[in-house]
């Protein structure tokens, strides 16, 4: 439970962070809220030689409305999403999912950029952002590029970010259609055993912890789009997926939970076939 030794540098700006990343290559890791990275380091599952602290970049903490979408700075804390009036009006799903991440201490440290970059399939916000069709803005040595969230998660704890890139912003389309989030866990502060996010009355349905990345429940979405009932669509939630098995749930139980929770989420979101 003691991390290996490492060097520590404070980034003065996003550009400085990117410069440091370029300098140190894959030896380095950005440190944002530290609530995923530091536990990994304590278990020695991560042993970065250099930590680049971006946690003090206040300029990257914001939630702004910009023509039809909401722009969120990468260092925005989960608790800021949870309590944002703007978000509650414009993307209520995101605010409400943020309120279910971990416990208050976690939500005051953890950042939206960190949870995306960490790409844990069991995390809540990435799946919600997937259902919402968000866009991620990454800054690298050659400037900014936009990554559609559907292209972002490339594998288990892996993303489309390059070693020298940093997330600076997340853009989320305004989304006030029927929504719900079902998080199933055993203790309030735990990750979801399975989670289901529904956006826009069922046109976006995504799953937490049902595979190696956050996933769209495409079979359910398509069934709804082509006129299936909510109950029918929900039975397809785990279609074609290979969920993990662990102490809390084997693969079969996970698939079952995905179906039950998808139906509950769709009902709560007021979804119906189109």
């Amino acid at each position: 439970m003691i991390p290996a030794s490492f060097d520590y540098q404070v980034a003065e700006s996003p550009e400085h962070a990117v410069a440091l990343l370029t300098e140190h290559g894959d030896e380095a890791k950005l440190l944002a809220g530290g609530h995923s990275l530091i536990p990994m380091m304590r278990f020695r599952l991560a042993t970065p030689a250099v930590l680049i602290d971006v946690g003090r970049l206040q300029d990257l903490r914001y939630i702004n409305a910009t023509n039809g979408s909401i722009a969120i700075g990468a260092l925005t804390r989960h608790s800021e999403l949870e309590h944002s009036k703007l978000l509650a009006q414009s993307v209520p799903l995101l605010a409400s999912v943020a309120a279910l991440v971990g416990d208050p201490a976690v939500r005051h440290r953890g950042t939206i950029g960190g949870t995306l970059a960490h790409s844990d399939p069991a995390s809540d916000l990435p799946a919600a952002l997937l259902a919402l069709g968000a866009t991620i803005v990454a800054r690298g040595p050659h400037g900014d590029r936009e990554i559609a969230i559907t292209d972002f998660f490339t594998g288990y704890f892996e993303s489309a970010l390059a070693d020298d890139e940093m997330i600076v912003e997340v853009r989320v389309p305004v989304s006030t259609g029927g929504w719900d989030y079902q998080k199933f866990n055993r203790r309030a502060q735990d990750w979801a055993i399975v989670g289901v996010a529904v956006a826009q009355g069922g046109s976006g349905v995504s799953l937490v912890n049902m595979g190696s990345t956050p996933l769209r429940a495409s079979a359910t979405e398509q069934a709804l789009a082509s006129g299936a009932s909510v109950a029918e669509a929900a039975t397809l939630a785990a279609e074609g997926l290979q969920p993990p098995g662990d102490l809390n749930a084997d693969a079969e139980f996970r698939s079952h939970l995905a179906r039950v929770l998808t139906e509950r989420a769709l009902v709560a979101a007021g979804a119906s076939s189109t």
Binding site: M1, I2, R186, A188, Q189, L247, N248, D250, F253, L257
Partner: protein, 806 residues
Amino acid sequence: MNTTMTETEEAATTSYTHIGKARLRREDPALLTGEARFIDDLTLPAELWLGIVRSTEAHAKILGVDGRAALEIEGVSEVLSGADLAPLWGESALPCAWPVTDDMANPPHLPVATSVAKYVGDAVAVVLATSRYAAADGAAAVLVDYEQLPAVTDIESALATDAPLVHESLGTNKSYTWPLIPNPEAVDEAFANAAHTISERYVQQRLIPAPMEPRGVLASPGVANGELTLYSATQVPHILKVMTAVTLGIPEHKIRVVAPSVGGGFGCKLNVYAEEILCSALAMDRGVPVRWTEGRSEAATATIQGRGQVQHIELAADTDGKVTAVRVKLLADMGAYLQLVTPGVPLLGGFLYHGCYDIPNYSFECTSVFTNKTPTDAYRGAGRPEATYAIERAMDSLAIAVGVTPEEIRSRNFIAADAFPYESSAGLVFDSGDYQTVLDKAVAMANLDTVRTEQTKRRADKSNKLLGIGFSSYVEMCGLAPSRVLASLNYGAGGWEAATVRVLPTAKVQVITGSTPHGQGHETSWSMIVADKLGIDPDDIEVLHSDTAISPTGLDTYGSRSLSVGGTAVFMATDKVLDKARLIAAHQLEANEGDLEYVDGSFNVKGTPTAAVPFAAIAFAAFTAHDLPDGMEPNLEAHVTYDPPNFTFPNGTHIAIVEVDTQTGDVAIVDYVAVDDCGNQINPLIVEGQIHGGVLQGAAQALYEDAVYSEDGQIVTVNLGDYLVPSAAEAPTYRLASHVTPSPTNPMGVKGVGEAGTIAAAPAVINAVVDALRPLGVTDMAMPASPQTVWNTINNVNNEAPGGAS
């Protein structure tokens, strides 16, 4: 002699200012502000850190230990294998103080294994380094060459002829068999004549104690005089002092043990551990302080675990459901070695498998086996939660068989209120109780009629949120323990407790207790007792403890003994002080001591309150010694060592109402009612706190916690993400009430409450889960009742049912 709570409250208010009143704990400001000093907050010049290389194998020969890479790390000074260390302790082994039978197998247990590692976490080598970081890096860099051996992980197959052996030299995995069968023929006869019999098998999963503060040790040598000061996060500094002397051959008078602020223990710090012996031996040998701080994951295997039993319980009952006999066969998991009281833990429950029922015929037999897992030992309740679980689950099954409600089956079998003192068929004498009144209170509080109406409605509606009601009526034996009884059980020590009350010249008071608190609030409670008896302010009293140089005699804190044994010693020592003060006052008033009364902190001759001698004047007189009665020693202090004549028997009824989501398997405790009789209460706030925490700990066994091992003995739950200790967010809203039947065993009429909640809660919750699911055909539920387990259980019933789901 039974009184209700209200009467006792009245009695308390009239005679006492503090006792019986809810008082904030004086311990808390230092704890809440971070001022309290725990072991990890202490440092000594030149100290070295110990890092421990732990076996990654459940069972393996140690072929070699290679420390070369570790020695390259800056700050690492030595790498020592078990063989290198052996001369420090020679043949002496870690102590087991409870050889429960004459033929109990107790193989030598060295602090560091020399040739064979016997469980994951067994120490196989150590590193000395100048910092904790270097010690951790060093330990990680030591290469150990293992040859794997087959492991024993399942207690039910441990005694099979072809089972691998944990200890080759024993030729068996059995440690002992301990029977308590006063009249075997009568038991057989009761079963032969029974109208109803129940036969069930329950599994008590292993639990990880997980106190807030893991363990830690700092051993400091006094080289010039051969002294050792041993700081340890322990519940038992006094026991540790004796055992360190015996194990390492350091003269006992040269050893001082200090337990600084200790962040909980739940029994797991009631032990003498390898690390305490290691740090002490190395510190004495190297002449520098040596320390070790346990990591959270390390604690999962290096600290004892609780429970670990398979229980077979049978009940014989007549047509009315009156139980005529109980027969229990217990299989208990010792783990790889016997720690301090490992073998005795299942037997502490062995007297209580009849629960709070008047069951005339008793048969209990425990067989204990070794496995390639972390040793088990005392964990909150130690044997009694297991016993209560078995009898309370079985009573619910009997209720179903007889066709009566769970409360009715209990009422038909309770020991009657007028039967006390009651001699049980297991041979104990129960002090006091009124179990029926306690149950009636709980039933009234739980609004059972409303809950049952709603339960029936949901069943009829085929709701997927089913309600269940779970009862648990318990009685436990506390106040460990009469020394003679311990002798009859072969326990290696007595059960007395010591206290000193010392009045200082300025009339401030020091209370020295041998009972070592680690979260229970002794300082608050003891000062309330002494303040009321002396008629002074609790703030004028300091309670000292946990350092053998300050409190040289004592037997520490476990088994809900502190108040009924240690508090009684304080009470009696205060009486002695008052007796002496009375002599001084009589001398000053030139009166007959028999004519004096002590009112509001002053002595006066009865009827003439004007001529009073205040306590402060007596304190000062004892100090100056200018004018004391002839031959009186100039001090005002008294020491008492109290050996209780009997155990105390707290009891109660808890009712859990749960809602089970039949689609997801999720269980929510929607209401929890607890009515407890812990005798007279000193500080009801502390009583409530103990019940809150205790209930959650019991509910944790029912719903959350499980030390999971793979078949080859690898532990899987080594962090608090995988080992699910519930938090405040999971805690039910408790609704508590008391019923008081003072214990006649001790002068304050107290019983103890440290373990009650844990003892009661698990069967209440599981009974409720089973009750909820009974319409689906469920009759049993494994612990913990996780969503997966609940879902599987429902599915299995459906699949087994004739014509069930395909």
